[in-house]
Amino acid sequence: MAVEMKLPPVLDIIRSNIVKYGNPLALKGGEVAAWAKSLNLPAQGELLFYTGGEYQLLPYIDTLVKTMTKVDQASKGFSLLMGVRNVLDKAGINAEKMYASVLAKDKERYNTVCYKAAVILRQLGYELSYSGEHELYSGALLYELGYWDDLRAYAPKVANVIAQSGAKTIVCLSPHAAEVFKYVYPKLLPDFAFEIKTFVELVWEKRDLLPQVDYAAPVVIHDSCRLARELGIDEQLRDILTSVGVQQREALRNRKWTTCCGGPNKLLFPEISHEVAERRVNELTHTEAETILTSCPYCLSALENGNAANAGVEDLIEFLYRGVKP
């Protein structure tokens, strides 16, 4: 017998946004794709550049978390059937205003990560296509949060957009997307036979062509859990940095033993998440590296948040772009 479990509303907000709007925070397709305007990427091609809107939504996560902590999660007024806008209205918070309140500089920064990634790959000789405002979020969070039935219904829509590009290979910026495409989608959709690559892998394959990065201070890699443990990508990051001529330090806990950034439980347990992030930043800065590099949008956001030490925190994409003259 099925029992209806009434869960904290934030879970359902994320779920229904993905299902309804193709994005965990209900960002509009145009907003998600704005970064690509000047690049004129074709909609079709063998190698599909896939952002999943994940870097683009980073500036909004904290606002949502802050809002949710104001909403009394235990109160009777919030039912599972309410979407994000309803819940926010109920709490007296205007969704449009909330989104508008996000700092322009954060929006700018995280939006350009996608731009920079595309420029780097093109300079390495990759011909990219991009689904633009039709691109849909992978649904990794549906899988993560337990909404597997929703993912089953949602995945074909994502696969359909991907198929329209005529792609053979998908290059994912986020390891979460890569993981769900590589390991989960084929179980749901027998025809989902695309080759799945991460940004890191494509760069690694042509690392000899990368421009040098002029950066004298040592850096330290924060291995993302998904990348290191699920996708088995760790040495490649070191190779890439060696190729661009940068000094590296190693944290005591790295590669397969990396410490999680705390990002995954941020929506429900923001305080604990923050604590975990701070401790990870301490482990990383203990190496006396000046900049922490990671290759995952959620790690980037979590480490930035836990960055009481004021170290530099950059995505590998941002760091490599330092060497690029577009």
């Binding site: 029992v3 009434k6 869960l7 999660q73 899988y143 993560e144 337990g146 999680c260 429900l268 975990v276």
Partner: protein, 414 residues
């Protein structure tokens, strides 16, 4: 049916957040994690055959889950053959009823540390029934006096620093106990010594049970288990059915892997007990109750374990050796200790909570606390895929599916 988990989440979150801000927990855990890693690294180097042995144990544990009914029968027969008494308790109520029946009222009971004991609330139940029960493990004793619950399965009082121990002891013993660890240990030793010899009953768990011989294997450092299982006239073992392996040799393998990953290095004591104390020294007539207990009782407890065994997604959780390694590697546990838990702790504890000690409602907030980061799997000698199990739990929570559906559908099919 409708289950409102929002309050469950809210209460749990409040408690978890408070733990996350507790500097004592963080300091204690930071030290403990450091010590754990260095001991385990060092002993793994000294005993390099360990990972291979762990791989063997994984195989034999998986086999044992499949053959669980046979093994239970064999183990019970072995205990009886050795002139012990063997009982089976299907659930918590049955286990506690047996305990009350065998022990009765007005007895003095000394008890060794046991997670199963925590699961059953065994001490509390026996006390309520009118017995005087003492936790003889130092950490558990501190918690008994503090009315607190274990915050780590091996170092239950990991969150209590010496100063606080001194306060607790001074109050209990009615004399000034200084915050000096050696003196704190000494004062308990003196107190407990009398209890061991006054006690009517000694209770222990077991780390592993060999079905062929009926051997109960117990690993410890303090020596309290030795005394609690040897001095009183009655010894009762409470053990989960998942602890049974086919042979004595298998049991030794499990024991070695357990203590290596449980940071014992080399444990102070390993006890192997198969039956009541006996002698045939006078005229070769076997007489029971020489120096040790005259009566030896084993209660095999299921309490949800068989349900776990029937679920392919979760049955590997029964391989858990309770070494505690995963907890030290867990980034959340490192800042909250056992507040990320409900009797059973951390990621593996989430699965155990769902099946044996709390149910889905208690497991739900834990399941969403887990980062699913997977570092526990790197540490786990049994390579239990905790993140995958947590994912499956979340799915069932979201869908309102229960546990043990395999069993149900089999029944329905027949």
């Amino acid at each position: 049916m409708n289950t409102d988990l929002q309050k469950e989440f809210a209460d749990y979150t409040k408690n978890l957040n408070a733990a996350g801000k507790d500097e004592r927990i963080k300091t204690a855990l930071t030290r403990a994690v450091h010590a754990y890693r260095s001991t385990v690294d060092e002993t793994l180097q000294r005993f390099p055959h360990t990972p291979e042995l762990a791989a063997e144990v994984r195989e034999l544990k998986a086999e044992a889950v499949i053959k669980r009914d046979d093994l239970l029968r064999q183990a019970m027969e072995s205990v009886e053959r050795n002139k012990g008494k063997a009982f089976y308790a299907a659930d918590k109520q049955a286990a506690l009823a047996l305990a009350r029946e065998i022990i009765g009222k007005g007895k003095v009971v000394v008890k060794g540390k046991s997670m199963l004991g925590e699961e059953l609330h065994l001490r509390e139940d026996l006390e309520e029934y009118g017995n005087e029960v003492w936790e003889t493990d130092l950490g558990e004793f501190i918690l008994q006096l503090k009315h607190d619950r274990p915050m780590h399965i091996l170092s239950p009082a990991i969150h209590v620093p010496r100063e606080q121990v001194a306060e607790i002891f001074s109050k209990f013993f009615g004399k000034e106990v200084p915050p000096d660890i050696a003196q704190e240990v000494a004062v308990v030793k003196e107190f407990m010594r009398d209890k061991f010899f006054q006690a009517d009953v000694g209770i222990s768990g077991a780390n592993v049970v060999a079905a062929d011989t009926g051997a109960m294997v117990m690993i410890e450092n303090e020596g309290n288990v030795r005394l609690a299982t040897a001095a009183p006239p009655v010894h009762i073992v409470f053990v989960g059915v998942e602890k049974i392996v086919p042979t004595f040799q298998d049991a030794m393998k499990v024991a070695e892997v357990t203590w290596r990953y449980a940071q014992y290095g080399v444990p102070g004591y390993v006890s192997i007990i198969t039956g009541p104390s006996k002698t045939g020294d006078i005229e070769k007539v076997t007489t029971y109750g020489a120096h040790g207990p005259k009566e030896f009782v084993v209660i095999f407890v299921d309490n949800g374990r068989s349900t776990m065994a029937t679920e392919p997604e979760f049955s590997a959780a029964l391989h858990c050796l309770r070494c505690g390694g995963c907890m030290y590697e867990c980034p959340v546990f490192q800042v909250t200790a056992g507040h990320f838990g409900h009797t059973y702790l951390g990621g593996i504890g989430t699965v155990w909570t769902a099946f044996v000690a709390g149910g889905m409602e208690k497991a739900a907030p834990l399941a969403y606390t887990c980062l699913r980061c997977g570092r526990c799997v790197e540490r786990c000698p049994m390579q239990i895929n905790i993140p995958a199990m947590v994912g499956e739990l979340r799915k069932r929570i979201v869908n309102g599916e229960g546990l043990g559906k395999e069993e149900v559908s089999q029944e329905e099919a027949s």
